[in-house]
Symmetry: C2
Subunit: 453 residues, 2 copies
Amino acid sequence: MSEYTKILLEEDEMPTQWYNIVADLPEPPPPALHPGTHQPATAEDFAPLFPMALVEQEVSTERYIDIPGDVLDVYRLWRPSPLFRARRLEKLLDTPAKIFYKYEGVSPAGSHKPNTAVPQVWYNAQEGIRKLTTETGAGQWGSSLAFACAQFGLECEIWQVAASYLAKPHRRTMMEIWGGKVHPSPSDVTEFGRKLLAENPDHPGSLGIAISEAVSEAIEDETVRYALGSVLNHVLLHQTIIGEEALLQLAKVGETPDVLVGCTGGGSNFGGLAFPFLREKLAGKMSPVIRCVEPSACPTLTKGEYRYDFGDTAGLTPLMKMHTLGHGFIPEPIHAGGLRYHGMAPLVSHVYELGLVEAIAVPQLECFAGAVKFARSEGIVPAPEPTHAIAAAIREALACKESGEEKTILTALCGHGHLDLASYDRYMRGEMQDLELSDDLIKAAMLDVPEIA
Amino acid sequence: MSEYTKILLEEDEMPTQWYNIVADLPEPPPPALHPGTHQPATAEDFAPLFPMALVEQEVSTERYIDIPGDVLDVYRLWRPSPLFRARRLEKLLDTPAKIFYKYEGVSPAGSHKPNTAVPQVWYNAQEGIRKLTTETGAGQWGSSLAFACAQFGLECEIWQVAASYLAKPHRRTMMEIWGGKVHPSPSDVTEFGRKLLAENPDHPGSLGIAISEAVSEAIEDETVRYALGSVLNHVLLHQTIIGEEALLQLAKVGETPDVLVGCTGGGSNFGGLAFPFLREKLAGKMSPVIRCVEPSACPTLTKGEYRYDFGDTAGLTPLMKMHTLGHGFIPEPIHAGGLRYHGMAPLVSHVYELGLVEAIAVPQLECFAGAVKFARSEGIVPAPEPTHAIAAAIREALACKESGEEKTILTALCGHGHLDLASYDRYMRGEMQDLELSDDLIKAAMLDVPEIA
């Protein structure tokens, strides 16, 4: 294996448990609060939205949770996912560093999202749920949920931000191939949607509006629930299979990371890769620097405040303590749609506050420049979101070139960019620009965030 | 491994030789002929187009040819490719048959084409060639060659059929990410292109015209050569790594195929999968039925004639003895663009004439219906071309359901459909129809084929 490019695991080496970082943190994360009373949210508060098994996972303090056999069976369609040594990129950069990337683009939907979509659908199926609703922006999450629903025979109804619905018809087609029913949002299906369409028939929609429509459709019917693709504890829990596999794969070639970088939007890709390594670090078994990478245009950790805020724009969800730019904040239209979220997963926010992880923000031109280098050397065209992780890995590798250090760098390529080629086209024609965020804009968006002691 | 879904090979289990079926055939295939003299074509006739190493492979009778180490290094970016047992599709079909599929969509370009693009570029690089030219229709081949050129630092210039250039901008973007220079064809770069544009500024182009432009640009410059993505012997040779890997993978789980089905356009995917199994069959080690699957709208084997014809529409290439619908035949605009070729690889045609393989034609509605079943059960959205192979595998599996036979079926899923979702959209909206070919149309196209004794 001295000249390996890919480090693979056999199916029977695939981890059979998810890892819950809450069990190992020096301080427990602050609880979610009821949006009306501001008291800690109870299981009943979550019950109209999620099946009980997922509500239990959301507040669990168990260190390991078994992955159901039916879920493992579906995981096997693409898992264990490969870990690559980026030898050809290293050569291009002329760096003494070793760059490893865990590749999640091998999933049917092309990203890490099915890792949580599959168990979410399965737990709902176990509790007799007939249909799941959700929102989607660019479509990665919506297509993952549609795929998972097809596996267990559930209906899937998706509200896609109208602007994306029109601009990215191929992602919608993908959802439909898997049996998903897709509405542009605002839609004429919900009262809220009809109200907005009456005001503006060409309303472009927003993720916040799409969440409101999906949630309202779920809570009206006992046989329907809602599913979320990031941010929540149980979502990050399911994604830890990424990091658990990567640990086993690095061990096969006798490596431990000196630096781990991951892109952060809602936080599920980062948490999924990083938390198993953070466990090892807390146990004194390795000592990687662990770093979040966010877009300069939506710098939740590096410029947001750590306080209670709503998860959605309309303020319907429980309040979560997290780094936020304000729930009314509308991020700039950068191409990494999956990173355009005003908040950060409470668990990622918490470990950042505890000083266990670092964070940097990277502008999008640097990201796309890195992605083109990556594509020409490693072959894979990355989705816009992980271009941030790649840009950060390249920064590290070039620093090693300066210093002569042979650091081992680990990152996750959380999805391919086959359905995001229009972004690359804009970049290569010189039509893309960096979108920096003014402090005034952030201040203004924070005005609506409730004051909670 | 009793419950395996994927059968993987380690990198050091990857075959290190390609297999040349010519060495094992009961009769040698008829030679290519010079287009002017109708005498057997010599190495010198091919020299302006291809490097000598590839010309030698084109006429080689060696059984095995070593894969260069540099080529193996690039192959490792995605090879060995996985062999899947389609358990979830079997369950959906309620069949006692076992369905295996070799998946080539894991390559950077998303199809089997890089298997030959990489060695073609490498051999050109060894002979000091600076630039490669080629044509592309839908874009699978052009993007594969651009990727391969990026690996070895060659320039890549691609003439894409104008209608596709306009209708499929994302494939073009992919070629550009890898550094390819893409022209719509007809283009203002060549004399032939300018002539056609002068006659019709909105000329939609054709594969034949694009070939003429790419060839004319190659033969004008000593440092430039041309590359072809299918049909020729050396292309099929490079693709045999598919079948060699599949043989090793099936052996790992103790299986031999009873039926092998593969889609055929130019013939490289089919030959790549089937020839190593045909070797085993000729040696008496197994006895699979081996079947070509072609589109009803372009039924080269099942309705074409076996005779000498040109490889391109303009009649510039050597004459090859093959099944042909006539080099002037313009296939119906079916969605499987990669199967819209008037001829069939001479080697595939030859083994068909010898009775070593069978052929069937399948209409496109049946193909897309099968593909949607496949996507909903196995997760992967197939490219339009391999939907033909899937449809044929499903026919076989359903016949097993009738008969109760537990046959082992093997096929190749030669590419994913991420850049072909518009075809699925048309199918699901009921806007697609079957395109049957009239015998009169074939007769008319055959009139231009030269009479050769």
